[in-house]
């Protein structure tokens, strides 16, 4: 009896949520969702569930105009949904995932273009296209002369030092080298920022990497205004090793034929010095002792840390002349 009930429930579920896989080297993730047709052009939610969800990565889902075969969309909505087992992801593959779609979005008219939901691996596998899928959708015929015009989605552009950020191509930042993200919203509303993934931290619009490898994801939201609705864009970030530099606290001070050099780097690593011209100068810890006039050459080194920052190594040359 219970088996019969389960089978009939499954049949109902499969009717409501059709499984579509678009040919692109056979993605392994099974995306099931609906409805895909007769959607409200002013805004409709499509619900998704997943089978064979990737264990090592998440997915991005977003509305887009159908791209050329094998390519990724060039016209797409900035309202991406990030689905991941990462606890910080806004949507879990185990829950009901909703993607909001409209018949019109930046550069797109879905009555004259083929629109759909594009599915791809998230920022942790940026260039991996093995799970790319496009699921076509259609909208209900537009009703004549709507009494209220649908509110357009706000727009936003983000940049770092004048270089525009992209939702589809990650930008790169180095360990503990903060960058400011400049955002311009179409509505003029003040954006808010949130970073997903433990590897980064965000204070206001300032993004800092806490690791020198891996990824994180920055979500920028405009609340919109009376004329436009809220929008959130996600920007993937790749992290690279930081650069060590000496911290000149008290360095350069001269004490009786001696010079004090930096003791540590900006990441707290101790700098070791070795003189390669011991007739002119010797070195003890970070104190250089001048013996006579000439060229004092030192080699400075600080250990790097895997996954955070690279080794520091520098040759220092001091010209020593006799004080008259």
């Amino acid at each position: 009896m219970s088996k019969v009930r389960i089978v009939s429930l499954l049949a109902v579920a499969l009717t409501a949520f059709s499984s579509i896989s678009i040919a692109n080297a056979a993605p392994s993730v099974v995306v099931q969702g609906g409805p895909y047709t007769n959607l409200d052009p002013n805004g409709a939610d499509i619900h998704f569930g997943f089978g064979n969800f990737p264990t090592a990565h998440g997915l991005y889902l977003y509305e887009a105009v159908q791209p050329a075969a094998g390519a990724r969309p060039t016209i797409f909505s900035t309202a991406q949904v990030w689905v991941s087992n990462d606890p910080q992801a806004p949507a879990s593959p185990k829950g009901d995932v909703k993607v909001k779609v409209t018949a019109y979005f930046t550069g797109a008219d879905c009555y004259h273009m083929v629109c759909g939901i594009f599915v791809r691996l998230d920022h942790t596998a940026q260039s991996d296209t093995s799970e790319d899928q496009f699921i076509p959708i259609t909208f209900a015929p537009a009703t004549a002369a709507p009494t209220t015009a649908p509110m357009p989605v706000d727009t936003l552009t983000a940049s770092i030092n004048g270089k525009a950020l992209s939702s589809s191509a990650p930008f790169t930042i180095a360990y503990q080298t903060p960058v400011n993200i400049d955002v311009v919203t179409g509505s003029g509303a003040t954006p808010t920022f949130k970073v997903y993934g433990d590897n980064c931290t965000m204070t206001g619009s300032m993004l800092t990497a806490l690791k020198g490898s891996g990824q994180c994801d920055v979500a920028v939201t405009s609340p919109g205004n009376a004329m436009s609705s809220t929008v959130t864009s996600h920007f993937p970030v790749n992290l690279i090793a930081g650069i060590q530099t000496p911290v000149p606290t008290g360095a350069g001070a001269a004490i009786k034929n001696s010079i004090l050099l930096a003791q540590m780097t900006n990441f707290g690593e101790k700098i070791s010095y070795k003189s390669t011209s011991t007739k002119v100068c010797t070195v003890n810890a970070n104190q250089v002792k001048i013996l006579k006039s000439g060229t004092c050459t030192l080699v400075a080194k600080a250990t790097g840390r895997s996954g955070l920052f690279s080794t520091y190594s520098s040759k220092i040359t001091l010209k020593v002349s006799k004080i008259k």
Partner: protein, 159 residues
């Protein structure tokens, strides 16, 4: 004779605080240093510093009663100071949850921190002159069950 005098001079020249400082290494490569660990007076300020901590993992720093390895250090002076008001314990995190922004002290680059802790021999009704106490760090409540970040340096109070 001259050598002996020089040796004695060198010994006396060594700062006494250095003599009772201690550093312990953690299982992830981090190091914890306490500026003074013996004959600590009631209300004395000691400096607790760390280096090479994982900046993606927040920690609590407090004085606690020593517990067997693998057990949650408790009780601790001041408890877990999630409100940032007691001053008896510290929350160090570079990526705290939203409610922790402004309360948690971020790591310095390289996973470093330095905190001045005013210590009392009493943790509630427990007297650290009679039971063993230590300066502890442990992963914060976002990883409350993860004991791999526990690290302690015992403190001995002046009786």
């Amino acid at each position: 004779m001259l050598n002996r005098i020089l040796l004695l001079a060198a010994l006396f020249a060594m700062p006494m605080s250095l003599a009772s400082a201690a550093t312990h290494l953690g299982s992830h490569g981090e190091s914890l240093t306490v500026s003074k660990v013996t004959n600590v007076k009631n209300g004395e300020k000691i400096i607790v510093s760390g280096a090479r901590f994982d900046e993606t993992v927040g920690i609590y720093l407090a004085m606690c009663v020593v517990v067997p390895k693998g057990k949650l250090p408790t009780p601790c002076g001041g408890g877990a100071d999630k409100s940032g008001t007691t001053g008896a314990s510290y929350w160090i995190s570079s990526n705290p949850p939203d409610y922790g922004v402004g309360l948690a002290k971020p790591y310095l680059p390289g996973g470093r921190f330095s905190i001045t802790l005013k210590v009392s021999p009493m943790i509630g009704k427990l007297d650290c002159r009679k039971v063993k106490c230590a300066i502890y760090v442990r992963a914060d409540h976002t990883r409350g069950d993860d004991r791999s970040y526990d690290l302690n340096i015992p403190l001995q109070f002046k009786k």
